[in-house]
Symmetry: C2
Subunit: 397 residues, 2 copies
């Protein structure tokens, strides 16, 4: 039942033979643009090895910053001024940098609940205290944000609110624009720094949909958006970005870590810049969106056919996840034991809630459709259906 | 006089036209093994793109950990058990991880003085308070370490001591074995965790010299050694390692950041593993050592010929630096203004001391011989000699 996360090995997780694991929210290895990357590396090391291999510009190499500045209009609706972009070693590393800058051990951090379970793990490792912000079907509620903010000791200098507003991990759904606007209003009033984990924003499966970072010019709360190439190129490269206030870019780009080591993942960032600037980039993204939306259709279709009586879920317009809810009072952890017996797995909902409210995730399960091809997804659902119709399983009958 | 460290750009520093800048301790771009790296990338992306591009094993990919385990015997005298190795995104990132694990803002950290100026900047960005440990010609003294340790509030949980014991940045010299042993004894008695920045240890210019991490089996203090490929392959890759207690490896390899993002710089680490495992590796290292030792000979020879009356320095057996001391009471910052007027530069000694004792660096200057080829080094010293013999310069005459 455990996935290998440490210990000897080359990759973070090892496939368990014979098991269809719908747990990890990893992009699909078959969709890594490895040939295009090989070409990009060849060109970069041929044309400018000195630039690609030296200590990189602290805020990220100009070719990538400039490309992001214009390309991000496709994701967020308008170009982003380069002074607001910091290249990072992925979204997790970006969150770590923000924690270094804005928190001290023991501080409270607000988190939507449910939220990305490994962000919770990161905050715990930073010895931060998570205050959950309850969600309804449209995402975290302004009232809950207000209440949570009141739990933060007045003496605390900065208050971060971590949220995955677009194609949420684990909810699959996005925060509608008017809800986001109300959250921003509360954030501005209470001096909350909103940290949006936007890694799934480029993976929207309808055409031409953008996800503005600020809902409303009047509600100019402090907002930082975290982006990553992990889901749209390949995670091993460890390249992402942060869109934030120029002052934050300056502080992180001028701090001791950056002055000592230069920009993070510099060579990888130069390779990504070459890849993204190539003529094949738009086609690559279209292919990703088509593939992942097909996988979503397959998983959702199979769930409807085989588990529609037992479970429900919100429509999934992008990202990697279906957030399954048992229609009856069933414990997703108990159900997981049955599933594992039938060699299929997922992550039970309680892991996506801070420990203090873990019970709220009892009836939920996160299923990922990103990692496996269609036949594996169908097989996984079929095993779930089989597992949960076995006599003796504490189902709703 | 300023070097570009932030702002738009591709690399961390831009060469100032016409200036011979002996400041940066960067490896030489002409010595990056760029063709060998291109071949390694090609092979890795051809043979195992899925492994190289996926989220990497949290403690670093097995091929690199295993290679390091055996190769480190050449640097430290004996193989290192893989359970003691954590792959990092370079030595600076490793120091950052240790600070996350073992410090809180406001804590005291012990640092040898003088020390690597950007490590001081890193600790300051972490809001840590540096307590200097005074050095003599053989490195930090046990008495000074003892005194510094007494300045740490008793309530503080962990006490780190940062030092560059081998081919010190900026002193150029190493801590002799008996001195290291005495320091370890103090560290053990006082519960000090010694953090060795060993990035220059592989660049020892005499044959067959090793630098053991623990001086003596009896003095088994807690010691972490930081290593990096920045000086021996290329800094833009952001790949380094940490040799430490298995418990520290486990804690950092299991923490939230690692569980979320996997191993740092994973793809780059896979490429480095391929490069290091190739038949050309030993030749590459021999070439580096030969080139850098020739550059050292050129710089030291020119200094002897042109500035021997004005300055003195300790013998340099490895690494990148000559730590110049004015024989008379001259201020290296004042002298730098004259030097800059003659289009040559260096870093004045005061930058390598914590602010509270910066005056101790007044008579010192760090000159790096790593970045420039021989003719530039000669030209730089010739300009220094010229600058400092101009009438009106406050020299010793």
């Amino acid at each position: 039942m455990t996935r290998s996360v440490t210990g000897p090995g080359t990759t973070q997780i090892a496939d368990r033979p014979g098991v269809v694991d719908l747990g990890p929210g990893h992009s699909s290895p078959s969709l890594y643009p490895s040939r295009e990357l090989a070409r990009a590396v060849e060109e970069v090391l041929r044309d400018a090895p000195g630039e690609a291999l030296a200590y990189g510009a602290n805020r990220g190499p100009a070719p990538l910053v400039e490309w992001l500045s214009s390309w991000l209009a496709n994701v967020h609706g308008s170009p982003v001024d380069p002074s607001r972009i910091l290249v990072t070693a992925g979204a997790s590393a970006a969150l770590d940098r923000l924690c270094s800058l804005f928190t001290r051990p023991g501080d409270a951090v607000l988190c939507e609940a449910p939220t990305y379970h490994l962000a919770l793990a990161q905050l715990a490792s930073r010895r931060l205290h998570v205050v959950p912000v309850a969600s309804d079907a449209r995402g975290p509620t302004p009232d809950a944000l207000e209440r949570a903010a009141r739990e933060v000791p007045a003496a605390q200098e900065h208050v971060l609110f971590y949220t995955v507003p677009v194609h949420s991990n684990p909810r699959g759904a996005s925060i509608p624009r008017d809800r986001w606007s109300s959250l921003c209003t509360v954030a501005k009033e209470r001096g909350i720094h909103m940290v949006r984990d936007d890694v799934y924003a480029p993976l929207t499966y309808a055409e031409g949909v953008v996800h503005p970072i600020r809902a409303d010019a009047d509600a100019d709360a402090t907002v930082t958006s975290l982006g990553s190439f992990s889901k749209i190129v390949a995670p091993g490269l460890r390249v992402g970005w942060m869109i934030t206030d120029p002052e934050v870019v300056d502080r992180l780009g001028n701090d001791g870590l950056a002055r000592s080591g230069g920009g993070p993942s510099h060579t990888a960032a130069m390779i990504v810049a070459r890849l993204c600037g190539s003529s094949g980039w738009d086609g690559h993204l279209r292919r990703l969106r088509r593939e992942y939306s097909e996988r979503r259709d397959v998983l959702v279709g199979a769930l409807e056919a085989e588990l529609g009586d037992l479970c429900e879920w919100q429509p999934v317009e992008g990202g990697f996840f279906v957030w399954l809810r048992f229609r009856h009072d069933l414990d997703a952890k108990t159900m997981l034991r049955e599933a594992e017996r039938h060699r299929v797995s997922y992550i039970p909902g309680s892991e996506f809630f801070p420990a203090s409210v873990a019970g709220e995730g009892r009836r939920y399960a996160r299923l990922s459709f990103s990692y496996h091809p269609a036949d594996k997804l169908r097989e996984g659902v079929s095993r779930l259906a089989h597992a949960w119709s076995t006599p003796g399983v504490p189902v709703y009958r």
